[in-house]
């Protein structure tokens, strides 16, 4: 029987991951190339959802921008607002009350708590533990409630204002938040134990997506990703902004550098966040009203520039704000989010691991996956070639 068709299976299969997969948190496309099961290269494509926030900030006033920057991200809206507002306060030379500083810290730690719980839940879901996912999300919901009690909103809180915060807290609310924190702390300890001991979780996460300390530094990785590789960086500890200079806490680091270490860093940090939040509730100063009279805030912002950092849930978040002193709008606002470095610079992390490891590595940084394989069919009789998904090939060509 003569040969009528040759099937060329390309050495490197192209696997598009994203950008619109429902479980993917960041609208990016990871174009992975695999040789058999092994990933040989990953290209990262961005720009699907660029909203021009920096340009928008240049076209709006300093005060309106507080509400614009808070919408950069739903999960970490408070840290964005805090970082921007502190930059404006630096330009104004404004000092705020201790009570406002403590309340900002409390709000930001609640945000870190629910964010870390969310990504660890997503990791559980992506490796097949849907029940664990739902349980973690159920407990995360309590933290969202605590955030609502403090700020008035579950998600977009718009809590931080130049000169302080927009709502004070009373003893009843303090007790409610304390109660939620203590209950959640026990649950976090339990989930941490599950991640430490469950054999399936360990098999999927340990030694997957390893990053050395040097690689983490030279690729400018930040946050839990860097700390899980032994890089001891934390803007809260180094910049001591807001009330962090007065609150004791540990910077969590691990040395393994793999996907498991990144998730464990998040569990340990969640426990630290509970401690910080409880410390704030116990030591909340009463030096002044933390809520500024917004009508009395300065209308004119003097010329100047400030660069502030905040330790967002995903790592160092920075804001540069420049005022020319003439316009009511900033001359330049530059935002560098932690995902910007942690997603775009991490193509090297996937190389050498298998296709099944890709979603694990991606989730350990934050996102998810869809994939598609193809082969080329060369019809030597008709002298044509065409591409065909494996699914079609399985039906017989």
């Amino acid at each position: 029987m003569s040969v009528s068709k040759i099937i060329e299976v390309p050495l490197a299969l192209e696997l598009p991951v994203g950008p619109q997969h429902p479980a993917l948190h960041e609208p990016v496309l990871l174009k992975a190339y695999a040789d058999g099961e092994e990933i040989v290269k990953v290209e990262i494509n961005t720009g699907y959802n660029h909203r021009g926030i920096e340009k928008l900030c240049e076209k709006n006033s300093f005060y309106r921008d507080i509400f614009i920057v808070a919408r950069v991200c739903g999960i970490c809206n408070l840290v964005h607002a805090d970082c921007y507002v502190r930059a404006v306060e630096q330009i104004l030379g404004m000092e705020i009350s201790n009570r406002a500083k403590y309340l900002r810290v409390l709000a930001m730690e609640l945000e870190r708590l629910h964010s870390h719980m969310l990504i660890n839940a997503v990791m559980a879901e992506n490796i097949g533990f849907e029940n664990l996912f739902m349980n973690i999300m159920l407990d995360r919901e309590k933290i969202m409630k605590a955030k609502e009690i403090l700020t008035g909103n579950r998600v977009l809180s718009d809590y931080v204002m130049v000169g302080g915060v927009r709502r004070d807290i009373d003893d009843v609310k303090k007790e409610k938040i304390r109660d939620i924190l203590l209950k959640t702390e026990e649950r976090i300890k339990y989930y941490k134990k599950v991640f430490e001991e469950d054999p399936t979780i360990l098999k999927r996460l340990v030694d997957v997506g390893k990053v050395s300390t040097r690689d983490a530094v030279i690729h400018s990785l930040v946050g839990p990703v860097a700390r899980a590789s032994g890089v001891k960086i934390d803007s809260r500890a180094s910049d001591k902004y807001d009330a962090y200079s007065e609150i004791p806490f540990n910077v969590i680091t691990r040395t393994e550098g793999d996907s498991w270490a990144r998730m464990m860093v998040r569990w340990d940090e969640a426990l630290e966040s509970v401690k910080i939040a409880l410390h704030v509730l116990d030591h909340l100063p009463s030096d002044a009203n933390p809520v500024p009279d917004e009508k009395k805030l300065p209308r004119k912002i003097p010329a100047g520039e400030a660069y502030t950092r905040v330790e967002a849930q995903r790592g160092e978040l920075t804001y540069y704000v420049m005022s020319d002193g003439k316009s009511p709008n900033p001359y330049r606002v530059k935002i560098r989010t932690p995902s910007f470095n942690n997603i775009i610079s991490t193509g090297f992390m996937y190389v050498g691991y298998t296709i099944a490891d890709l979603p694990v590595i991606l989730t350990s940084l934050d996102p998810c996956i869809s994939c598609m394989e193809r082969v080329t069919v060369v019809d030597v009789i008709k002298n044509v070639s065409y591409k065909l998904p494996f699914k079609e090939l399985g039906k017989g060509v």
């Binding site: 630096q90 910049d239 950092r309 610079s345």
Partner: protein, 147 residues
């Protein structure tokens, strides 16, 4: 801590401060690579990281200002290397072969502001900017882009 960076004084035209207390070293654009090479030589390549690159269009001065925000470890002190390039020919040497972590910053600054980082093979339009703006040849963060 900044005394650790005294070895950079031959390259420094002047020093400034960005609030709150971030020391700025103004350098010539042609010295930028030498500055980072010296940093790697003296401090080691894993003792600092480039946190962000900020390009600002100073239209009235006919210049574009590039700020490299560098976090020096282990103290995590942020220092700034500032340089100015002409607006009509915004070209500067890329650092990507020295420091892979500048990839997002250089690609973004190219796409939004039109700065060409010589030697960076990954530069492309549409890295962030939507295709309709790219087709018009506009750089959105330029003050006269009309975006």
């Amino acid at each position: 801590m900044s005394s650790r960076l005294d070895f950079l004084s031959p390259f420094t035209l002047e020093t400034q401060v960005v609030k709150p207390g971030r020391k700025v070293y103004v350098v010539k654009p042609e010295d930028l690579r030498n500055v980072f090479s010296k940093m790697i030589e003296v401090l080691g390549d894993s003792s600092f990281y480039v946190s962000t690159i900020i390009g600002t269009d100073l239209k009235d001065e006919g210049r574009i200002r590039l700020d490299y925000y560098v976090v020096v470890l282990p103290e995590e002190e942020t220092v700034v290397f500032r340089t100015f390039i002409p607006r009509d020919n915004p070209t500067v040497d890329s650092l990507i072969d020295l420091i892979p972590g500048v990839l997002p910053g250089e690609c973004e600054t190219h796409d939004l502001l039109g700065v060409v980082f010589k030697g960076n093979p990954f530069l492309k339009r549409g890295f962030f900017v939507p295709s309709d703006v790219v087709e018009q040849g506009k750089y959105p963060l330029r003050k006269d882009s009309g975006v």
